[in-house]
Amino acid sequence: MKKKLTIVLAMFTLFAFLTSTNAFAHEMYFTQSGSTITTIPLRWTPKNTSTGRLKVIINKQSLTGSWSTYYEDARTAWHSSAVPAEFTTTTTTPVPNTYMVTASQQYWDSMYPDGPFSETLGVTELYDTNSLAITSIATASASTKQLKGANIYLNPSPNSPSAFIYRFTMSHELGHVLALGHSHLPQYSPANTSTDPSIMSYDYFSLGQSYLPQNHEVNDVKKMYGY
């Protein structure tokens, strides 16, 4: 009897371990058919050959206004976190793989014709190893799935956002650079904002608590990249 109980307990523990691990790792692009989620795993490839950490080298020369003011906070938030990745700033050497820019007003107005009560704050484009810009499920499917770079475009004239919104927007977009997806979607293992806070979740965003990468992001990156 005791032996049977031990086996059942061991199996339960193994099951709990496996399912809890699988609850992490929200991919950026996925398709859904009924309750079945099929992910399109994209992976950031630049790495520091010495440390093995993912390497995000940012050119921020075209950042202006408050985006520029709060950029360093967002970058440091990732660079100083336990996520196995480094986020550094450069101009030409080493060659940047990520460009953060405040877009031109004309482009923004043409691309995102929002109304007076809504505004697009930022957009991240990922680039695969063939320089294909990944902006949709279709382009993600057609890509090599191996990422060599990213561009983050930011609103040239946001309507009086707080410092928190500037920091969170950039920090959230930097999460997308590592191909992290949203963690709040009800159909895709949503993260609980109390027990599993995540800056890739809008629900957590709306609480206004922190723009720093959380354990959720650390675990996602470790699982996705095998650290």
Partner: protein, 207 residues
């Protein structure tokens, strides 16, 4: 004696003035509820901040055109946007070796206007452009639906856009009763089941 009277008068004046200032501040604070905003993001990674209107006045004042009309045509459109040389976005795309065009995806809704509440449309038929958001930000809009549309003209694309993804729409049912698509403020949601004429009067009273 004169000195004391003056002092008392001065003290009274200060007290009365302060109380007027305070009561004014309080009534202003009570009239202006805090603005709610939320962040959403489309499946393709576009992060959007949506601010809700404080009240009907706020919604109306941001709308340059308010009409009652019927959707008579919908058309999914994919329009190519050229990234202009010398702009930051073009430089970033060139640095990645990417294509210098982007596709703007959305839907053109043709509205047959039956009544104008605010503003002046150029034609009896107008086009409202809605960007694709992939996350159903807006109510379902079908051919044949009749609504009050709260719109703003976007000069860059040469079409109207809605002022708010849900507050911008008030459905007008077959029995001529109004159903707001937004329940974020009591004043707007309380318009539910009011007659179209009554809602039109309230909007006109504001402007």
């Amino acid at each position: 004696m004169k000195k004391y009277i003056l002092l008392v008068c001065a003290a009274l004046a200060v007290t009365v003035y302060s109380s007027i200032e305070l009561s004014d501040t309080k009534s202003k604070a009570a009239e202006a509820p805090s603005v709610k905003s939320r962040i959403v993001e489309t499946a393709s990674g576009r992060l959007i901040r949506i601010t809700d209107p404080r009240d009907l006045k706020d919604l109306v004042s941001h709308s340059t055109l308010i009409v009652k009309g019927k959707i008579i045509k919908t058309e999914n459109v994919q329009e190519e946007i050229q990234l202009i040389e010398g702009t930051p976005e073009r430089a970033a795309v060139d640095a990645q070796g990417g294509k210098s065009t982007r596709i703007r995806s959305g839907t053109n809704y043709t509205i047959s206007v039956s009544d104008v509440i605010k503003g002046q449309p150029d034609n009896q038929e107008i086009t409202v452009y809605i960007s694709e958001d992939e996350i159903s930000l807006r109510p379902e809009l079908k051919i044949g639906d009749e609504l009050i549309f709260n719109l703003a003209f976007n000069k860059t694309i040469g079409r109207y856009t809605d002022v708010h993804p849900s507050a911008g729409y008030l459905k007008v049912n077959a029995d001529n009763k109004v159903k707001p698509m937004f329940d974020g403020t009591n004043e707007i949601s309380s318009l539910e089941n009011e007659s179209y004429d009554e809602v039109k009067r309230k909007i006109r009273d504001i402007k």
